[in-house]
């Protein structure tokens, strides 16, 4: 309320509430914008989900049918029966988990060396690493196929896991993080007679849990979603992973969209579950990749 004795005129009050209202309108506007953005981002998922329950005809209706009239839960078992999804699931999990564990191991070692150690050829080797990020993978497919065959890893789990046990991006990420840890820690540990290797695993690694978790999550995600490599480096169905399984639906002549959507939902669900439980780490970790 206006108090002339304190120098507040009636005019000030009107302006005050005007500003309050304006700020509120601005806030509302921001919320609207945010929800609009979220809607745009989520729309394809919503569409995928609802279409997966529709009949073929409903899927093709125009104007679009937002909510299916009949909830065809059968689409799921029908879609999953078209291919051995049980096996695909197992393979996806097996390959992704092993790749992740292995990659984390090699990455921690290499990232630490680049971050904290002095050695001959350090800059050269690091530049080499940088260079690989620019290599288009397509260049490497046929030579790698021949390599896998020679090693008898073609159409075996080794061929799906071992080539992916090193990640340049992961090394960058961890190196960045390790660099931010103070050197004094090592100095005092060294004085106490600690071997470097032990220091790495008992001191550095526990301190780096968020970054390591990020590397692991990103690796798992990449491995789960990978399909070009799996498609080309496996022969038999029993070795395939889920994304490749999705492809069996796109037959040469036409597609049954509602079944395709059902299978797509199934392909996404495990990642969503993982994401749901590790959300904070995931997003934080990815976000921090940009922070020096």
């Amino acid at each position: 309320m206006a108090d002339p004795s304190r120098g507040q005129s009636l005019e000030t009050t009107r302006t005050e509430s005007y500003y309050v209202a304006r700020r509120r309108a601005y806030k509302v506007f921001l919320y609207v914008l945010m929800f609009a953005g979220c809607a745009v981002m989520l729309l394809p998922f919503f569409w995928m989900l609802t279409t997966s329950f529709k009949t073929e005809l409903e899927a093709m209706r125009m104007p679009p049918q937002w909510i299916p009239r009949t909830w065809l839960w059968e689409n799921y078992p029908v879609a999953l029966a078209r291919a051995p999804f049980g096996r695909y699931f197992f393979n996806s999990f097996f390959v992704s988990i092993l790749s992740t564990i292995g990659e984390v191991f090699t990455t921690i070692l290499a990232a630490y060396a680049f971050a904290k150690m002095r050695f001959f050829g350090k800059n050269f080797l690091f530049a080499l690493l940088l260079g690989t990020m620019m290599i288009p993978g397509e260049m490497l497919l046929v030579p790698n196929y021949v390599t896998l065959v020679r090693l008898n890893w073609f159409d075996h789990y080794e061929g799906l896991i071992i080539p992916w046990l090193a990640s340049v991006f992961g090394i960058f990420l961890l190196r960045q993080f390790f660099r931010s840890l103070p050197d004094e820690l090592w100095d005092s540990a060294r004085i106490d007679g600690c071997r470097r290797f032990r220091y790495l695993w008992t001191v550095i690694v526990p301190l780096s849990k968020p970054a390591i978790l990020t590397v692991a999550l990103l690796k798992f995600l990449g491995s789960w979603n990978a399909f070009q490599w799996v498609l080309l480096m496996t022969n038999t169905q029993s070795m395939r992973t889920i994304p490749v399984g999705l492809l069996t639906f796109s037959s040469d002549i036409g597609t049954e969209y509602q079944l395709l959507m059902a299978a797509s939902v199934v392909a996404i669900v495990p990642i969503l579950i993982l994401f749901f439980f590790t959300q904070k780490q995931f997003i934080q970790g990815v976000a921090r990749t940009g922070i020096k």
């Binding site: 921001l30 394809p44 979603n225 994304p243 492809l247 959507m261 990642i271 990815v286 922070i291």
Partner: protein, 324 residues
Amino acid sequence: MKRPRGAGKKRAEAADRKTIRPLRLPRDRAFWRETLEAYWYLIPAFLVLGTFVFYPFFSAFKLSLFKWSSLNPPGDFIGFENYRYIFHDRFFWKDLGHTFYYVGITVPVTLTLAILVATLLNKGLRLLSFARTSFFLSYISPIVAMVMVWRWMYNVDYGLINYFLSLVGIDAIAWLNDPRYALPAVIILSVWHYVGYQAIILLAGMQSIEQQYYDAAKVDGASGFQTWWKVTVPLLSPQIFFVFIISLIGSFKVFTEVYVLFNGPGPLRSAETIVYYIIRSAGRIDNVGNHTGRAAAASVVLFGIIFLFTIIQLTVTQKRVHYD
């Protein structure tokens, strides 16, 4: 952690000098012992990379000099014949053009939108977690599944996109069948796919900007927009640079979105990108001839372009990125 250019910098530098390490340590025995130890640490990663990245990379250069077909490696040595062929192939240039067009629009548009989204999410609104998740979802889903949905959404008769357009009075666009709209269709899809990922990174960067800079700006009487333009964005430049580089390199390699969206290179091959050209030359798709040597040559050229752009980026932005 971050300091903008200004008066405080000199004082900070002076303080740093007290704890700065000397630039070059002597290469004594300790150095070489450490080198040996370091190499042990590097061996696992480099063994894998050596076998599956470096070796095939050089193999590909060799490949490009041969009339290598995947049926008959290495074939005859033909020197630079493959390069001569692709430089004379009008589709090689067309596809490069398509790729540059794609990169030229996707990268800035995604980045700009990502900055705006990050700004929006940084406003301290509630339900931030929900918003962040919604934006991030597109990045973590398998690309094949996503493109299938979009293919359906782009359908000229039953698709959602044209439905929404019709609501605002725009006629149906044959996204997947009109050479003028094919590449834009891919661009829109890509922007949608990557904006969340980039926004998350930028948001984190924004959130780590210390309040004191905003306070200083407010004291100076800066408006909201001025603050954003003169404080937030410059302080965000390391992240922007990082995202830009990743986006740039990744965009040059676009292929899966095109192939799954059009089940081919698009009408009149209007969405054919350079990587598509490479894979097609190798005979992997579209039931055409098998010319792995040519594919290798084209991939060497692609690598050269990416390399060049990265170097340019690194030098140009060296000056404009504000590190401390």
